[in-house]
């Protein structure tokens, strides 16, 4: 199953990226490129919706980290929403739950973003 990446721009800075499918070594480079492109275009306050992601491996996590780095360097951030049991486990296992803040749904995550 391929990974589908859709983005909804909320403002000049804020956007929601919805992922649907498996995030693994095959699809990670696409995700990384997409996140970088958003950061370059000034969208640095991002919420990534993982509700429809049944599986994420460490290559997928690495892509998220690359995006996080790009956003932070531009003064923004990335928040996560909608983790399921599997995805939460890999975040805990790699201790990445120390880096990414996650929320039950996108609404809650958007509320924590800085305005702009």
């Amino acid at each position: 199953m391929d990974l589908q990446i859709t983005e909804k721009l909320l403002s000049d800075k804020r956007a929601v990226v919805t992922l649907s499918g498996r995030v693994n070594a095959v699809t990670a480079p696409d995700l990384k490129a997409q996140l970088k492109r958003l950061a370059k275009g000034g969208h640095i306050q991002l919420v990534i919706d993982l509700t429809d992601v049944p599986f994420i491996d460490s290559s997928g996590l690495a892509a998220l980290v690359s995006g996080f780095k790009a956003a932070r360097e531009a003064g923004g951030t990335i928040k996560l929403a909608g983790l399921n049991e599997q995805t939460r486990t890999v975040f805990t296992l790699t201790m990445l739950d120390r880096v990414f803040e996650s929320y039950p749904d996108t609404g809650a995550a958007i509320d924590t973003l800085a305005f702009g």
């Binding site: 990670a28 491996d57 460490s58 790699t94 739950d97 803040e101």
Partner: protein
């Protein structure tokens, strides 16, 4: 050789033939027919020899400390007994390492596994890389994709990759202006661009056998196995291996021994690694690094707070307002809150403090203006009123439009940078292969083991590469290994990092320990010289007791090494382990002195010339030893010295040292025979040896 054999008289040849056949018959009667049984028997015999060796060694070394130090020459006696102690501990570590090697049989392949083959290159010739890449495309495992990782970004290499249907990867633009981390960086960069479940890493010159993946992939059926290492052998060793490159003992019994303790090393090439393990290592490394930075940032701010008491009252007040935030941040960190939360608490507080400072600065300006207004300045009065009314908003606008930086409140910018959670100094945040050492492979394996991953050494030779072809390159390579290993010893000491078992710690320590031998070997080569010139003995007497305590131990020790090596040629290695003492000393000293170490790509082409200038210390020792022997003989003959035993022992010792050092002297002036040509073994090329026009 063949010629001289045929000149032997018939009778002797026949006798030799019978003797050999007889020995074979005897061996077949004595040894169990099953390979597994034989292995078990060999291990049992090794353990008996080893225990006997340890007993004799203990018997000797205790006597050395308690009864045989020359108390009138402790300056000489103590260094020598320390060197002997070092060697004895080395023996203990060696025996422990060899105690329980596993009996590995390659499990059936892991069907459907996808494998990326990385051929790493920096400045090697295209034709050399082509040989490896072509062989890689002939790997029989079905789901294999070959990539050339070209750190030199050369168009010819790209063209060659396209011609062979290999992927071609160079550094992405993120790396511009960032540290490149040599080979480790090259691989880390590629890991984010390919997607095989397993990675076979090959140095540019390591030509793989077609079955390399089929033979090793089965080990990954165990989901805990992170990597499988196979031996590194060389196809260009000149006759007699003058530079001591061949390492059959290491890529055989030693790694098998380490494997028995779940501590097989990753040696940088000819190994298959599990992507998931590498990425997890990179991710946890990233999180640890981030957490470390946040902690460091907090500590720095706390230090600034403690230090800046004497600054202006305004700054002091602003800094004080940070206190509660820092306490809260520490607490959040302890509670395991996301680092961003911790960072934001402090950064918000710093921003607020900056505003407070700006606000008070502006209040002061307004005060000044009011003073001017009192003196009759109309405009000043208006501005002053305007400012005082909108002080908070103004302060916010000013700090936002022209950020004053953390210095305004007396904080070091580094602290705020640490709290930014960006890892801005690195090109890619996730570094799977360790980059802090020039021997990235050892550090990576140790971290993987510390995370609980397992490893395998598969002893079958499945690739052949190139060894240095001149002494200069060989020495550079050895120096890099030694420096890198000591670097790891200091930065990530195996006894200090969490998660390793005690035997695993010992396996890493054993290798690191061996690189400290230079100092002690220096004592060994100096001792006979000192004695023969001064007749001052380091032992209380060269007595019969000395002989029967030392000689059996020495002989049994040599026998044990021979037994472990079982037919492998280790003589050259033995010579070099003594002869390289100046290099090992240089390695330790340079790392301790904090020298900046560079990853050196080992030269794959012969540099012509002689290298005597690189081995001056060894030449000096050889010369001094020869002189000492002659002087010892002379003084004995003319009757200045009547110590028969001491003179004989030390002349023998000196001769032994000269024989050991002779290898490196010969290597310094070595020229391979004109007819000699390096050729990879035929089994790497099932469909014939490739011939290319060397048009590059």
């Amino acid at each position: 050789m063949m010629g001289s054999l045929s000149h032997q008289p018939q009778g002797i040849a026949r006798l030799a033939h019978w003797l050999k056949a007889g020995a074979r018959r005897a061996a077949s009667l004595l040894l169990p027919p099953e390979a597994e049984e034989r292995g078990r028997l060999r291990l049992r015999v090794f353990r008996i020899i080893a225990l006997a060796d340890l007993t004799l060694g203990l018997y000797y070394i205790v006597w050395r400390y308690t009864a045989s130090l020359n108390m009138r020459a402790l300056w000489f006696a103590i260094p020598l007994v320390l060197a002997e102690t070092y060697s004895f501990i080395d023996t203990i570590l060696f025996i422990f390492m060899m105690w329980k090697p596993p009996r590995r049989a390659a499990p059936p392949p892991l069907e459907g596994a996808t494998v990326d083959v990385y051929v790493t290159t920096y400045n090697e010739l295209v034709e050399l890389v082509r040989l490896t890449a072509e062989a890689a495309t002939r790997i029989t495992w079905p789901n294999t994709q070959v990539y050339i990782l070209d750190d030199g970004a050369r168009p010819v290499m790209k063209a060659m990759a396209e011609e062979l249907g290999c992927g071609y990867i160079t550094r992405s633009d993120e790396w511009t202006g960032k540290p490149r981390h040599a080979k480790a960086g090259n691989v880390n960069n590629a890991l984010l661009q390919t997607f095989g479940e397993f990675i076979l890493i090959l140095d540019a010159d390591q030509i793989p056998a077609p079955q390399i993946v089929d033979r090793c992939i089965g080990y990954f059926r165990n989901p805990q196995v992170a990597f499988v290492q196979t031996p590194q052998y060389f196809y260009n060793l000149p006759p007699g291996d003058p530079f001591g490159s061949d390492a059959p003992l290491f890529y055989g019994p030693i790694l098998q021994g380490k494997d028995g303790w779940d501590a097989a090393f990753f040696c940088g090439s000819n190994a298959i690694l599990r992507r998931e393990a590498l990425m997890q290592l990179g991710l946890t490394g990233y999180v640890q690094e981030m957490e470390q930075r946040v902690r460091r940032g907090l500590s720095e701010i706390e230090r600034d707070l403690a230090r800046r008491e004497a600054d202006t009252p305004v700054q002091r007040a602003a800094l004080h307002s940070l206190r509660p935030a820092l306490i809260q941040a520490r607490q959040s960190l302890k509670d395991g809150q996301p680092l961003e939360v911790v960072s934001d608490i402090v950064r918000d507080a710093v921003a607020a403090a900056q505003q407070t400072v700006a606000q008070q600065d502006m209040a002061a300006i307004a005060e000044d203006l009011r003073a001017m207004a009192a003196a009759g300045d109309e405009t000043a009065a208006q501005v002053s009123q305007f400012m005082l009314e909108r002080l908070p908003d103004l302060a916010r606008e000013v700090t936002e439009s022209a950020p004053s930086g953390p210095e305004a409140v007396g904080l070091s910018p580094q602290a705020i940078e640490d709290l930014a959670l960006t890892r801005a100094d690195e090109a890619v945040p996730v570094m799977a292969l360790a980059t802090f050492s020039i021997t990235e492979d050892m550090a990576t394996a140790m971290r993987l083991h510390a995370m609980g991953w397992r490893s395998v050494f598969h002893p079958e030779i499945l690739a052949y590469g190139l060894a240095p072809e001149d002494l200069g390159s060989a020495l550079k390579q050895r120096l890099r290994w030694a420096q890198g290993t000591i670097q790891v010893f200091l930065r990530e000491n195996p006894f200090l990092i969490k998660g390793l078992s005690f035997p695993q710690r010992l396996q890493y320590f054993t290798t690191m320990y061996s690189y400290f031998s230079g100092f002690f070997n220096l004592i060994y080569v100096l001792s006979p010289i000192v004695y023969l010139f001064t007749t001052i003995p380091p032992v209380s007497a060269w007595s019969l007791e000395f002989a029967w305590r030392l000689v059996p131990f020495l002989l049994l020790n040599k026998l044990m090494f021979r037994y472990v090596a079982w037919g492998l040629s280790i003589w050259r290695g033995e010579q070099y382990s003594l002869a390289l003492f100046p290099l090992w000393i240089q390695a330790v000293v340079s790392v301790l002195a904090g020298a900046k170490l560079k990853f050196v790509v080992t030269s794959k082409q012969r540099q012509t010339g002689n290298y005597l200038h690189l081995i001056r210390p060894q030449l000096l020792i050889v010369w001094l030893t020869a002189l000492a022997i002659m002087y010892g003989l002379f003084s004995f003959i003319v009757g200045w010295n009547l110590q028969v035993e001491g003179t004989l022992v030390n002349i023998f010792w000196g001769c032994y040292n000269i024989v050991m050092l002779s290898a490196i002297v010969r290597a310094a002036v070595y020229k391979p025979p004109a007819s000699w040509e390096a050729r990879p073994p035929a089994f790497l090329f099932p469909s014939g040896y490739p011939i290319h026009s060397s048009a590059n």
